[in-house]
Amino acid sequence: MSDNSDSTLQVTHLKKTFNGRHGNIAVLEDIHLTVEQGKFVSIVGASGCGKTTLMRIIAGLDTDFEGSITLRGKLLSGPGPDRTIVFQEHRLLPWYTIGENVGFGWKPGSDAQNKDAAVRAHLELVGLSGFENAYPHQLSGGMAQRASIARALVHRPEVLLLDEPLGALDAITRMRMQRELEAIWQRENTMAILVTHDIEEAIYLSDKIFVMSARPGRIQRELSIPFPRPRDRSSYEFTRIKAEILEEIDQDTAACGSGCVAKAENAIQV
């Protein structure tokens, strides 16, 4: 499924308004972004800028918006087998084994492998071979998150969405998981869109970074990260880009004041 000729995700003039008690709040305004097939992009920004909202719309969990999202030229609305998402919590169903949980991502007719083979292959891909019969509560946070990544990839979607997937992990596990995520992405060659607070994570993993500003949420800046992989976090270019992005976000926060973020968070209630 992921070797289509032109698997481009195109978001055009996306706008979302939240009709709250205190009037209408523009959550997302004129979002315009393009992601090419097989690329890894990140969306970063201050809390409350709407990046999770944008992610949920792309995943199809939210269909109340204006504008359009197309994949391979086809209009998207609602969830579909072409997009999967990895949430911040692993969201594995506790009453099923890891193997069964990963199997939920499988769709009949995907890639001609039978379900068991696909599940086993993807568990191996994320380094969880042999854990098919374990239950989620027996796994550590990092392992459970890896299982949810396997679940998202098992039917080889065209778009892999990641909503702060490593946010709940400790710093050391997070760094290790970033490397593993990169390796998994390179092997699967799927399009990946990552939402994160961690600028370093974004720079380490992405080909392109979208910086979002808050209230209303819009794409403030688009940066290309053409560095070769694997990237060196302590290199000059890395540090320079990081400073640049931080400054962008700082500027945005200063421009609308710190009350902005809090207001936006209250309004969105995501």
């Binding site: 999967t84 949430f87 919590e89 169903l93 506790p94 009453w95 099923y96 939920f104 042999g130 550590s140």
Partner: protein, 284 residues
């Protein structure tokens, strides 16, 4: 569980215990025996005090028969007074009443859980009905359908219905929305959502409601039989009191307690077996 397997499952190192092999097996077995018999300590102490008190004749036997007298009475009741028949009568009424109460509780609970409108429509009426204790309905029901097993079954069904209904409704409402969202993204159909997400998520709460209802039912049957029974354990209680057969009283009371305890134990072990996927709370 070997240390290797523990490490593999939880992904981090577990310190090895000091003893190994046969010594460890013995200490583990002793430990298990100790844990299981801890619960028997207090009852045994009470039994000893009871025996000693009756031996010393602190109280008249009519108020406190000796343990041996109770045992003898039990034997007599079983062999020549049809005790088992009364026990069976009570049990069968309870089982039938429970069955209907659980069935209706599940049905209405699922209906209300699935639809907010249904819930809004039936909640006020059900809440009002719930305030009236089941036993208070008994005279009216007995008047309508006669004093007999059916009236008792209806009253028991009523008292079982409410905890099951409430817990079913709560269980369904409390399904974590994160799981529902995840299932939506992964394209679960409505049937799959119900079978794989909603029902397993609600099951623990529902089972607690059933366990609670079963306990209520058992208490209810004794009361109902005391009110107007001609057989069953409650009736035996009344009769024993009338004839001042305190040893009989003790037998019935102990039996009621034991049966209730066993039923609860069975339900709890079913619960334990079904919900092994739940996070292990710190052991004992």
């Amino acid at each position: 569980m070997s240390t290797q397997r523990i490490t593999a499952v939880i992904g981090r190192d577990v310190p090895d215990t000091h003893s190994t092999g046969w010594l460890r097996n013995i200490t583990t077995a002793l430990d298990r025996i100790a844990r299981l018999s801890a619960g028997a300590v207090l009852p045994l102490i009470i039994l000893a005090i009871w025996y000693w008190a009756t031996q010393k004749q602190f109280v008249k036997p009519i108020f406190l028969p000796s343990p041996l007298a109770v045992l003898t009475a039990f034997q007599r009741m079983v062999v020549s007074e049809g005790f088992l028949r009364d026990l069976l009568t009570s049990l069968s009424v309870v089982v039938r009443g429970c069955f209907w109460g659980i069935l209706l509780g599940l049905a209405v609970g699922i209906g209300a859980g699935g639809s907010h409108w249904v819930e809004r429509m039936i909640n006020p009426l059900l809440n009002a009905l719930r305030q009236v204790p089941a036993l208070a309905w008994f005279p009216l029901i007995a008047l309508w359908i006669g004093i007999g097993d059916l009236a008792k079954e209806v009253v028991i069904a009523k008292s079982v219905f409410f905890p099951v209904f409430l817990n079913t409704l709560q269980g369904i409402r409390n399904v974590p929305p994160q799981y529902v969202e995840m299932a939506q993204v992964f394209g679960f159909t409505r049937t799959q959502m119900l079978r794989r997400v909603v029902f397993p998520a609600a099951a623990p709460t529902i089972l607690v409601g059933i366990r609670f209802g079963a306990g209520l039912a058992w208490a209810m049957i004794v009361a109902a039989e005391m009110l107007s029974g001609r057989s069953g354990l409650g009736f035996l209680l009344e009769q024993s009191q009338d004839m001042l057969l305190t040893d009989h009283l003790f037998v019935v009371i102990v039996t009621i307690g034991v049966v209730g305890f066993v039923v609860d134990l069975v339900l709890r072990s079913i619960e334990h077996r079904l919900f092994r996927w739940k996070e292990d709370i710190v052991r004992r």
